[in-house]
Symmetry: D2
């Protein structure tokens, strides 16, 4: 393990940052070199700067590590995982890329930048080549790779095999999202106990624009967004972890439900071929019980890296509908970024 690649975690004290730390604590490819968060964390021990909220070993065993300043002069590693908010990410991620780091970001700041890959390794691994465009375009020695919005990540994994097999013309997705998606302190209990909130700021536009980019075709230098209509209706519900999505799709050629099911079963994407450490053996778990998947009972399977599909049935309006579930802070955040870095490693972008 002595040759593991040193990494920096930016935003290490937050909900997603802690999941980065926990996942990286005994990762076969990476080891944590620096932890950083806001300026007022610098110089503190991680255990002092952070209210650890996860199961398992507190602070990922790094409670005594002294936190650095979140700036490339201080905490530069070859790989940087960013759990920063949009504001700091806008400023810091390019600074780290310029300084030579490959930044794997969970922030939304650069997701829609044309030269930045919006990457889900099972879905669009070839988009990673945009890193070369970045280097040419910005003159960076490093680069930025983003993962998608958590809701969009779960959805695109369900859509990708259907888009490959049939072509998706339209998708309408209603989400019921966990409170962890809002970070900490996040959603006040006075707002969500016994309630459903039919609004999450900026969430619907993100899903509606990120899905076509991820399903888009990479042609040498640019990604041409896929030509499909996406409508998202997003809700917050009193659930801790995991986003439930109700999905209807219109597919080209009117495939049967059995065809749709086969498309998911026959999906063997690249991370699984490559055996990436964080890739789940089966990326899509199909449930046969009439009342599954259920978020509280299913979402932690496979360390939260697989998605769950059930209740496949005909939709009188769009053709096909199904229940979908995925882990917003693992597959949709920390775990997704780390899988991106693993893909970059396998493809030779990291030495």
């Amino acid at each position: 393990m002595s040759h593991r690649i040193p990494v920096t975690v930016l935003g290490a004290t937050g909900v997603v940052g802690q999941r980065f730390v926990r996942r990286l604590a005994d990762h076969p490819l990476f080891r944590i070199e620096h932890l950083a968060a806001s300026d007022r964390s610098a110089g503190k021990r991680y255990r002092e700067a952070c209210a650890w909220r996860l199961d398992g070993e507190p602070y990922g065993g790094l409670g005594d590590q002294v936190m650095g300043e979140g700036a490339p002069e201080h905490t530069l590693s070859p790989v940087v995982f960013s759990a920063l908010d949009t504001g700091p990410a806008t400023e810091l991620e390019p600074a780290f890329a310029r300084a030579g780091a490959l930044v794997f970001s969970n922030a939304s700041a650069f997701r829609m930048a044309p030269e930045v890959p919006l990457l889900v390794p099972e879905v669009n691994p070839e988009h990673l080549e945009l890193l070369k465009v970045q280097r040419t375009h910005h003159g960076w020695s490093g680069g930025i790779v983003t993962n998608a919005n958590c809701t969009a990540t779960v959805l695109v994994m369900a859509l990708a095999p259907l888009h490959a097999a049939f072509g998706v013309e339209a998708v309408l997705m209603t989400s019921m999202q966990a409170v962890s998606g809002a970070g900490y302190p996040g959603v006040p209990s006075l707002d969500i106990l016994g309630n459903v909130i039919p609004f999450i700021r900026n969430e619907e536009p993100k899903v509606e624009e990120e899905i076509p980019k991820m399903l888009g075709r990479f042609a040498g230098r640019t990604v041409t967004p896929a030509d499909l209509a996406v409508s998202a209706l997003c809700h917050r519900v009193p659930v801790l972890e995991g986003h439930t999505e109700a999905v209807s799709v219109r597919l080209r050629g009117n495939p049967t439900l059995e065809d749709v099911r086969a498309a998911w079963l026959d999906w063997h994407p690249e991370p699984q071929h490559l055996g990436l450490p964080s890739a789940p053996a089966v990326p899509i778990r199909l449930h046969d019980e009439e009342d599954r998947p259920q978020v509280r009972r299913d979402v932690e399977l496979d360390d939260g890296m697989s998605i769950h599909i059930g209740r496949l049935r005909a939709c009188p309006v769009l053709g096909v509908k199904f229940a979908l579930l995925g882990h917003n802070t693992e597959r949709g955040a920390a775990g997704g970024s780390i899988l991106n870095a693993e893909l970059a490693h396998a493809k030779g972008y990291l030495r």
Copy 2:
């Protein structure tokens, strides 16, 4: 108040039955003559047979009333409100109709029978004339009037003004439904705490078939279902009362959002003209705040008889989408049945 019409409540001990009793306790047109539930309740006082679960005066002030047997020989009144389960309703409701009662039923047993009105007074008051068909067809001196599934009731109230103004071609509705919809004991807490269940038995087909019937045209003797596609995706969430619905619609002629809004604002249906006692002054409450309606905060307004709409916006797939909310055990059950009886009274079906 001495000339109020005597009524019987069947299924008086359950969640919906209690709401019937509470609403009828000081109703200007009706007074409770008989209470009945299962055979083992007969002869008990209401307070002994019933675990009262509502706010306000326990047992609607009828705690000492002795319960009767749920059979027309024993508990026949001119008006019968039925909160029975499907099984008993299938047998008992026709028996009461034959014996001369006008049965206002919350059960699903006869909703799709062609000669039975599936009535929401704001939406299809003219369907009440099917009572005459029943009398001819069955030779009943009474009749059966049903209200719709709770989820369908809320939805059809939002659709009716749009169907009248533009024509609805397709509607896709994802529900997040309260546990009270399953009655008592109903949903086990082990199933729903911190969870979302993407399945409610028989719920989706009910919505999909009841909406076209309610929006259908009555032509003398039959109702021709409206020609629109309906897709329902139903979920149970940890909420006590009130169903949240995320709705997308495709309307004829591509009206603007302002046109849609105007259609709701300009809706002045018959129960409000007639001043029926249980009709809310404003049947559709439009919310302007970006994060409303919210079930815990809004659903009890107007005694649960109005519906709530908010977040009207363009849908990239179907054209128009919005957030919808209504009270499942009031407007969608007890209150709805009583409003049906009030309409029947105003139309001269009750002496």
Copy 3:
């Protein structure tokens, strides 16, 4: 109503402030003259400064009222209700008292000051005379009257009749407190969904010191605390409104359970004699069902101004134990302060 006494509400935008506004909206003795909160609210309309979170008419009908600055030069009324946090209360409440206002405060800043009444009108109305001591001592033309911590208020109402009838030697109280007690945004949903937190900062000491003061004897110029041991064990639970308390007491003379019950039933305190507008007809509601009181089902009765007791039984350790329930933001906050002001009015402290 034209002769109602003008009042100012300080901290009007918060959870408790909104309850002040709602209760005062059509109060027979008081009318709202000024609304104030932090400096950045001054000059805004109430509807702009405040995210209204209560049922009923939004903003208590005062949505268009322009907010003032929270300082006696700007917003002085004869009566001031304070929903301020401790910090601002420490500074502002004496300033208003000096300027001539009678301040009825929900803050903890001056509760334990020897010259300040810690008032629950049913329990210690005579403590109000401390106002005269304040005037002598501080030279104020106004004064400060505090209500107790919400948990202590509910508890002292249950204890007062027992203390009067028998003498309470010791009380051990375990609370299960609603999230509204922490204000807004207050308790993060990530902390409390599906959880119990066995700690509320400063809560246990407040209960342990406020109870003896409230039960203490007023002898002309000072209150001698009652000689009883109080132990509080405080918990936060996922409940919206209302504190549940499990109470064991050791009483002098070993009264029977029937004696204890009689002491509560025979309690007819002064606010009920005086017919104060906010006094509940029956201040203690005794429940006979084996599983009541229950917070969600019982706490809103009597506008939250009565307390609820049930499950009276022998305690093998201290003698008597029972279940207790009260409304933390009504009886334990806004409603309690207003009742204090009503008592002051009835006693001639307000002209």
Copy 4:
């Protein structure tokens, strides 16, 4: 593993039964020979008879095992684990004991029988010798060993070191109990969402009588209950797994808080010495954070077999108070019974 002792699980389809199956699926000493539940399960495959509700491998890998009849003629194994309800347990457990099985029961039927050990291996391992009394007394070749009520089990583990070090004179315990304690379907969601129920049938008497028996002295043939007063105030709260307990104790000799803490730290009971497979390395986890233990965050540690103590502080009434937490369906049910069987094995009661 071929020499593992065959066992039967009675009541295998319920909430606790499933935990037995999961824990026994790869147990080093035991292997499941028979599964049984009610008569109508007999002959079905386990996956058909059981709605599996736990994480991990469904049905403990035994989904295809055909269930037997719950009677010693059909499903006798040397060891029987009983997750039966009280009624069936009263009849079946002695039948199995008579037929030669050592029955480790989670039912309450025989807990207070003088010849039946009420066993928590860390607390009273010597009580196991009552098995010899049973054999003499009943002529059984097998026997019955019970574990305690879940709430009492957690409490007695906290008390045992204090009783050994100082002597406990009195204990007052208020519980906030998870819904899983009521089995499935158990507590209706309509009762517990956003609520606290201050009553659990039979729970308080069980705690109050079981604690003295478990802390009692075994003298050859009988257990003399410990001489201490126990008062329990039991509540149901909207939590899935894990009982939170607020505890106050009066100890002999007024030890300091540091003494109390040392008594817990210095506790090294027999299961840990013996290295029993299900014994947690540290049976009492002491928490230093001011707001821990918290049930949702802490209770799954050590597979739910340790208990958690925090917030040790002075109690103005009884001397010492603290926060306590334990897993009701693991340590307080399935895991506790299996640990009992492991102790019996280590002591030579099983061949």
